[in-house]
């Protein structure tokens, strides 16, 4: 009885309210990040290049194993898988995830008065920052963390290249055709 944990409209909506608050307070500083929004990254349908970069940095820390046999996030199509999952959710939720990523990226300077964005941090700093979200007393922050974690796990462990390291056989069938058929 496995289950993905929560990536839901509600969690995004709750977080969106919070991140909108951050952005109102700091519109000028966030403007450069917003300026990149609008065009998606090559090969992606939802995430912009900026959002893809932030998400890659998050996923790298989420799945960090220290095991050299496990592939690096950047060497897989994890971000493409995450993007494909996002294609299937409501456009409003896609938009809210975008705001969540921007809020996450700019949280350190805006909330912690640090002179670095998330992607500008070292790996240990990123881990501490993620842990702050995971342990937050605010449910919305914890839920946002969980959404980012679950999308990261979805993107990474859906990759065939990760399976050998966890001794998973993968599908019995060869890579199948696209999951669409027109006939009845």
């Amino acid at each position: 009885m496995p289950a993905f944990a929560s990536l839901t409209r509600r969690s995004f909506l709750r977080y969106a309210a919070l991140s909108a608050g951050f952005l109102t307070l700091s519109r000028v500083r966030v403007a450069p990040a917003l300026a990149t929004a609008g065009a998606t990254a090559p090969g992606l349908q939802v995430l912009t290049p900026n959002q893809a970069e932030i998400f890659t940095a998050i996923a790298e820390r989420m799945v960090d194993s220290g095991d050299p046999t496990m592939p690096a996030v950047r060497d897989t199509r994890a971000i493409v898988s995450i993007d494909q999952a996002l294609v299937q959710v409501d456009p409003a939720v896609q938009s809210q995830l975008g705001w969540l990523l921007i809020g996450f990226q700019w949280g350190p300077p805006l909330l912690q008065f640090k002179f670095k964005t998330f992607t500008g941090m070292t790996a240990p700093e990123r881990d501490r920052y993620l842990q702050d979200w995971a342990d937050s007393r605010l449910l919305v922050r914890r839920l946002a963390f969980r959404a980012l974690k679950n999308l990261s796990m979805l993107g990474y462990y859906a990759q065939d290249a990760t399976w050998k390291g966890i001794h998973y056989d993968g599908p019995w069938a060869p890579r199948p055709r696209r999951v669409v058929s027109a006939e009845c």
Partner: protein, 510 residues
């Protein structure tokens, strides 16, 4: 005939004697039985029509196709994930094939407390037998029990706990283990390959990708049903309207009340959406020295019934069941991130999962928000939180008795137990929402059956108290938690209802 939404090129206006909403364990049975009885049946299914060629055995591709909200449906506080099917065949396409008849003690409880008539165990036997024959229900044979299930059995036997090997509805199973992602070998005898094609062969017209939005009623009769025809992303393209003499709502215990509440129907009791039971479950994971490969073979075959005795107490208890996960689901459930997460994830192939499945008295509620979407409210009550903790300690005992070297209790801040550790550590951590994953695959009881129209939504034959030609026929009609996996109960009650409709047709349409 089964028609996919993508080939519907304009609005449809259909006439039928019976309109069935949903193709899961309830709707598919009603559709087949009534079509074979010569009734003109139209079936509307909100999800897509996928067959074995579509089942790629990959989580990232199958979860969006086969699960409601891509497997993300959850209670409003996000503390309980609810897994439900949304495809032709419903949850029977992704379930794990446990086949339990409705416990006699539960049927007696329904008679005693809710006045349910003519539904004793003996009276249901003909329906059980018809359904089991159709689904080819049989014993799971000893060689088919995989290493994961055997570890749990070994632990139970050492501790003297009672457990059983279940029956299942698979035929010529390859034991590939991908049941949760749809069976690419058509070994699983789901509604998709049994009742649905039989209904179609008997003349039922089945429309996939058609979520029902409106049920039109006049006075005490339903007149028509209206659905959208949606594309792969759920965007409405066209409309289907079905004028029908009898309507059978079988959309599941979340979506059936959603449809009724959105239409303001069948709710003179105020009970639509109330009384929600979930069979909530919490899992623990044992790590062994040897390779287990829990995802190989029949995923669930053994279960532990030591802690439930419905004859003595039909209101309480829990079952312990094996559980496994594919990589994405496992990674999502394990606590922490980065190196701490990897401490558990690296043992993926040496892990045995076991869960506590609660026969719950806790009652939640389904309501609809301003967009008409369902909101699910459910809290585990204090008594059942205590039972969960007791069950979790038994799970740890069983895992250690079976040879586990470590047991993980997947709190947000994980609790790792070693052999000989004091299991009261679990009591100290407790069971708090959003601190440990809780899941449900059996939502039920939101349109409960009973003879008191002030306390129930449908009567003993699943017929609405308010609308003469509306039936509800899915897990939502169970008056209480079932205390057992529900596939056979749902299908058998649907079979019984179909025969009632068949036998009383002239009165129903008069």
């Amino acid at each position: 005939m089964i028609t996919k939404g993508q080939v519907i090129s304009g609005d449809l206006n259909l006439k039928a004697e019976v309109c069935v909403i949903g193709t899961g364990a309830g709707g598919a049975v009603v559709a087949k039985e009534l079509a074979e009885a010569g009734r003109d049946v139209v079936v509307l299914e909100q999800g897509g029509y996928y067959t074995k060629e579509d089942f790629t055995q990959r989580e990232d591709e199958m979860m969006p196709l086969l699960y409601e909200d891509m497997g993300q449906r959850a209670t409003v506080d996000q503390s309980i994930i609810i897994l439900q099917g949304r495809n032709v065949g419903g949850s029977t396409v992704h379930n794990l094939c446990y086949c339990f008849r409705t416990p006699a003690a539960i049927l007696e409880k329904w008679r005693r407390e809710d006045g349910v008539r003519d539904m004793t165990y003996e009276q249901l036997v003909p329906s059980f037998e018809r359904v089991e024959k159709m689904l080819k229900v049989k014993d799971i044979l000893p060689p088919e029990i995989n290493a994961l299930n055997n570890k749990i059995r070994e632990g139970c036997e050492k501790l003297g706990y009672h457990g059983l090997v279940a029956r299942h509805n698979r035929e010529s199973c390859t034991t590939s283990g991908f049941c949760l992602l749809g069976c690419p070998f058509d070994a699983k005898q789901s509604m998709l390959i049994t009742y649905v094609p039989a209904a179609s062969a008997a003349g039922a017209r089945i429309y996939a990708d058609c979520p029902v939005q409106k049920i039109h009623a006049e006075g005490t009769r339903v007149r028509s049903v209206e659905a959208a025809v949606v594309d792969a992303l759920g965007r409405p393209r066209h409309r289907v309207r079905v004028d029908a003499q009898v309507v059978v709502l079988a959309a599941g215990a979340i979506n059936s009340p959603q449809i009724l509440l959105n239409n303001g129907l069948a709710n003179s009791s105020g009970q639509v959406g109330r009384n929600l039971h979930l069979h909530p479950s919490v899992l623990l994971a044992g790590v062994y020295d040897e390779d287990i490969y829990g995802y190989r073979g029949i995923p669930q075959s053994y279960y532990v019934d030591e802690f439930i005795d419905l004859e003595k107490d039909p209101d309480s208890g829990y079952i312990l069941m094996p559980v496994f996960g594919f990589p994405v689901a496992t990674a999502s459930q394990l606590p922490g991130f980065g190196r701490k997460h990897w401490e558990a994830m690296q043992h993926f192939h040496r892990t045995v999962g076991i869960l506590v499945l609660m026969h719950d008295q806790s009652a939640g509620m389904v309501r609809v928000n301003r967009s008409g979407k369902p909101e699910i409210d459910y809290q585990v009550n204090a008594r059942e939180r205590r039972l969960f903790l007791e069950g979790m300690k038994h799970c740890a005992e069983i895992l250690f008795a079976g040879g586990a070297k470590q047991v993980l209790v997947p709190y947000e801040s994980p609790l790792w137990l070693q052999p000989g550790d004091d299991l009261r550590a679990i009591d100290q951590r407790g069971l708090r929402p959003n601190d440990i994953p809780i899941a449900s695959t059996h939502p039920q009881s939101t349109c409960k059956m009973g003879e008191d129209r002030r306390r129930s939504v449908v009567n003993s034959w699943c017929r609405s108290h308010d609308l003469q030609n509306l039936f509800v026929c899915d897990m939502s009609v169970f008056p209480s938690s079932l205390g057992a996996p529900p596939q056979i109960s749902t299908a058998s009650i649907a079979d019984r209802t179909a025969h009632y409709i068949k036998d009383n047709w002239s009165q129903l349409v008069a």
